[in-house]
Amino acid sequence: MIRRDFLKLGLAAGAAGLISPTPVAAQQNRMLEFLCSPDGLPPDLLTRPSPNSTPFLAPLRVPPVKQPLAVPLSPPPDPGAHQRYEEFAPKKFYEIREQEFLWQYHPEPPYNKGSWSWGFDGVTPGPTYHARYGEPIMVRMINDLPPVGSGKVGFAMPKTTTHLHNAHTAAESDGFPMDFIGPNEFWDHHYANFPSGNDPREKLTTLWYHDHMMDFTAPNVYAGLAGFYLLFDEQDSGNENDPNPLAFRLPSGKYDVPLILHDVLFDHDGQAVFNKLNTDGMLGDKYTLNRTIQPYFRVERRKYRFRILNGGPSRFYQLFLSSGALRDKLYPFIVITGDGNFMPRPVCAESIYLSVAQRVDVIIDFSQFKQGDQVFLQNRLEQTNGRGPSSRILEPGADMMRFDIMEARDADKSRIPDQLRDLPPVNMNEVKRRRVWAFDYRGGMWTVNGVPADPEMMRVDAAIDKDTAEIWTIRNEGKNWSHPIHSHFTEFLLLEVNGRKIKATEVQTAEPNDPRRNVYRDLARPIDRTAGATADFVCKSEPIRVFMGGNRRDITTLLPNDEIQIFMRWKDFEGHYVMHCHNVVHEDHAMMIRWDIVPPGKTRKPGDAEPSSSPKGRVRHPG
């Protein structure tokens, strides 16, 4: 029992003396000496801005690709601990360590001496997994972090549980918030790498792994515990020269670049600062890409694929690509994915709106520029507190990264297919029930349907029959805050937004000065089946003003008063999962529910107790 250990440790330590606030008379002088309240206390940490840093001094760093082990895992994984282990026997084994280290965000003082960070295998973001559909893997996550009080990153919790965001993963490998490991402990994660229901339309492409520790997701991810996990298949094969006629031949190799966005606040010493006592959200004043402050990136005059992820903790972005001293010349992005999945067709967009944890893969063709040109990736969305963005667009906006254009070394063989991947269908015959989830605030805690998360995550808020679908209504009861809501395990399809039915071919956009951003544009065009994958996509007509997501997603971006209806299906595994706000400060203050997938016909009602055979925080899976 942890609690008993805790009490025992205290008895052993026993050194600290009893405090006793001294009587007033005896302490008067001391109080006079140190009385310093509340003067000098900033309303928030942001009133002490980070030290200056010259933009575009440091190159963009691209995380290394994670390599599998050449020798077997020792000790070996326990097949009996994983659902469907034999059926999806791992073909590759990985070992990865969560560690604390000095990380240089910027080459100028005080940043040049390094900022204490957490990450994986000595880097943040952690190494990128290149996984393939049909090739299950096993990842041994080793917590190599210093125990509380002995490390340098004081605000984060060295108990961790790693979630592979949106992967179709068995419950015991999903990074449930209470499935945590402490320093010098490990957890085996089995990633089976098959699409939900073995339906190829359910495939995913850009995923990320990050910590999900109960009460501490925000500081732990902010400290650096995040990285990319890319899923390839014969279409998205990761080879732009692939002779397979099915292959998309998207830009690959060094032309396929993951970009994670974090806003970070630093103290005068260049160390990251996090205010855990703020329940609204944490904003930083330094834009970092792959944990470098405002980097530059030398690109060739050819196509690149960027996998852009808003890594949080609380900021929303609206991204633009611009040039000129006033940043007044804009260039569209070619958007090929929304969150984790390929859209049926690419979309041409002047800007991209990303709430926390949202992702897009975009193609930028730098052949439209000349050698020596400079182009800027910008954020123009105003946000002044953690509760959510304002509706204002700032011009000329804030530069996040500079692209420096160079001549291409070789001919660009990559392509942008005009057709990508069909969406999985909505089938109302699969729907077993409907649920409503209302997101609100009460008494210092963020709530779902009026209650904060159970501190032990034992309360099952929804028990869902395996192999069924449900319709969920996700509602924001707040007028002044925004919530990017993420449910694990399976992506959803949009049915209705604020009473308006959404067609599968529609993407969310916005009109100028539209604070509601609830405009949907139908981009349906006849698909020429005879052309197959041979047609290339080009931005022919006017781009949409802002891409806010396609029809299939894993984040429901609730802006104030929004109500969104979604269709979700659950297949293949059983066990405990969560849905939560991905403004991870809200998550840490309990805006989270637990839902379980249960064998068909054994549905327990919400609030029903866990079966007595279940160990705490876990679910057993009856045969």
């Binding site: 609690r3 250990d5 805790f6 009490l7 440790l9 205290g10 008895l11 600290a16 009893l18 405090i19 606030p21 302490q27 008067q28 109080m31 006079l32 140190f34 009385l35 310093c36 309240s37 509340p38 003067d39 000098g40 900033p42 009996g80 601990a81 080793i142 917590n143 210093p146 125990p147 509380v148 009080g149 004081g154 984060a156 015991e172 490991i181 320093p183 010098n184 490990f186 957890w187 085996d188 009460d215 205010n275 006592l277 703020n278 329940t279 609204d280 507190n385 009460r442 008494g443 210092g444 904060p452 501190p455 032990e456 840490d588 203050h589 309990a590 876990r618 057993r620 899976h621 045969g623």
Partner: protein, 210 residues
């Protein structure tokens, strides 16, 4: 704090109840920095249910493991958390008052007088290391803003218990209706630990399914 105290400083509170102004005050008030968030967590004067005065950060927080929550003598809804903390007190045993401390922070300066708080403390058997605290309204408001919600944001919380390792700067929040064991366990999460050198990593999970 008392009027004579203000007079001794030769300053008057401004509209926010703050004492002193600008650089002169900062010079007067300079104090050693005691660790993470020591400039963020207010070092205001508070009064305990034992009729003593203390500086919130320097005297009550510095170097300790703490639980902090909000109470009100007149709002009985806040008493259930006190009842739970009485159970936590029992679990903590003699660690309470040695390196672990519980602070029940008043929210209604007018009614949450030291005498009234003493009544609550006695009702629930608060022992050494569990203090009920009140202060001037502005100081209480500031403490709530900083510990339970950001300035300009939502109201303070009756629903949240802060747990923290002040020396490490490691803080969390747990639902006030959590059971005593959960609250004690959260304290164990933030407790200063020690690495066993040379040990091989141990398997924590997942556990066998059957």
């Amino acid at each position: 704090m008392s009027d004579d105290f203000r007079q001794a400083r030769g300053v008057r509170p401004n509209i926010n109840g703050r004492i002193g102004t600008g650089a002169a005050a900062a010079e007067d008030c300079s104090r050693p920095l005691h660790g993470p968030l020591s400039t963020y967590i207010p070092n205001v004067v508070v009064q305990t249910h034992n009729f003593r005065r203390a500086l919130f950060y320097d005297d009550l927080l510095r170097g300790k493991l703490v639980l902090i929550h909000c109470v009100s003598v007149q709002d009985r809804n806040t008493w259930s958390a006190i009842e739970t903390l009485a159970d936590v007190q029992a679990l903590l045993g003699d660690r309470l008052g040695r390196d672990v401390f519980i602070y029940s922070l008043a929210t209604d300066a007018e009614h949450d007088t030291p005498q009234a708080l003493r009544g609550l403390a006695e009702k629930y058997g608060a022992g050494d290391g569990w203090l009920f605290l009140t202060a001037e309204p502005a100081a209480l408001e500031l403490l709530r803003d900083r510990l339970f919600g950001p300035a300009g944001g939502h109201h303070y919380s009756m629903n949240l218990i802060r747990y923290g390792n002040v020396a490490a700067g490691l803080w969390g929040g747990i639902l006030a209706t959590a059971n005593a064991e959960s609250i004690a366990e959260r304290l164990s999460w933030v407790e200063t630990g020690k690495r066993q050198a040379g040990d091989l990593p141990q398997r924590k999970g997942p556990a066998p399914l059957y």
